[in-house]
């Protein structure tokens, strides 16, 4: 049985948006980064979801006649994951530097420090 075909996507949309919301709503830089990671990871899920073929298996050649899921999204997401971790690393390095420079990692406090 194929479950009503779009529920998966809707949940994924929810995931993406919760990540997006975290980024937008929090003033804490670390949490912003976490939110970003959440957002990106959810996008990965989105891609992978669309690559799934009902009745398919992992795209590693096995017995002839096997049906495989689509390998292309997998490849794309492998790349995207790498990009994600790279961004995280750079973001975290920046956060540490910000903490050293400002003594805080809260957005509003940083802004207050600049104004004074």
């Amino acid at each position: 049985m194929i479950l009503p075909g779009l529920i998966n996507y809707w949940v994924v949309v929810f995931l993406m948006m919760s990540g997006f919301y975290v980024v937008m709503s929090t003033g804490n830089l670390v949490k912003k980064m976490v939110g970003l990671t959440l957002f990106q990871t959810s996008v990965f899920i989105f891609y992978i979801t669309m690559g799934k073929v009902a009745g398919g298996t992992a795209p590693i050649l096995a017995a002839p006649g096997t049906s495989y899921s689509n390998p292309l999204p997998h490849v794309l997401i492998l790349t995207a994951i790498v990009v994600g971790i790279a961004t995280t690393a750079v973001g975290m390095a920046l956060i540490i530097r910000i903490k050293e420079a400002y003594g805080t990692i809260e957005d509003d406090e940083i802004q207050a420090a600049e104004q004074s």
Binding site: T57, A58, I60, A62
Partner: protein
């Protein structure tokens, strides 16, 4: 058969997850997460059999490894005493 096992694993995961979400202390959360992590290993192992392609157990293996490393990192973090201040974070 595998399906039933799978279901049980899922239920356990839900329970562990519940602990992770509910807390109340940070350590309960870590415990929940850690336990759910090992359950993921089982999940993947069972899944391999369920889908008839059990040759992806490397995945399960890496999960065990990483779960361990993750937990150690957490411990290292706690040892630095940073968490002492907010041990019982309540809600």
């Amino acid at each position: 058969m595998f399906a039933a096992t799978m279901a049980a694993v899922l239920v356990t995961m839900i329970l562990a997850l519940g602990r992770a979400v509910l807390g109340p202390t940070t350590y309960d959360r870590i415990l929940g997460v850690n336990m759910a992590g090992t359950k993921t290993v089982l999940l993947i192992a069972v899944l391999g059999f369920l889908t008839g392609r059990p040759d992806f157990l490397d995945l399960a293996l890496i999960y065990v490894f990483l779960n361990f490393i993750g937990t150690l990192a957490v411990l290292k973090f706690i040892e630095h005493g940073d968490l002492a201040r907010n041990a019982g974070d309540g809600e």
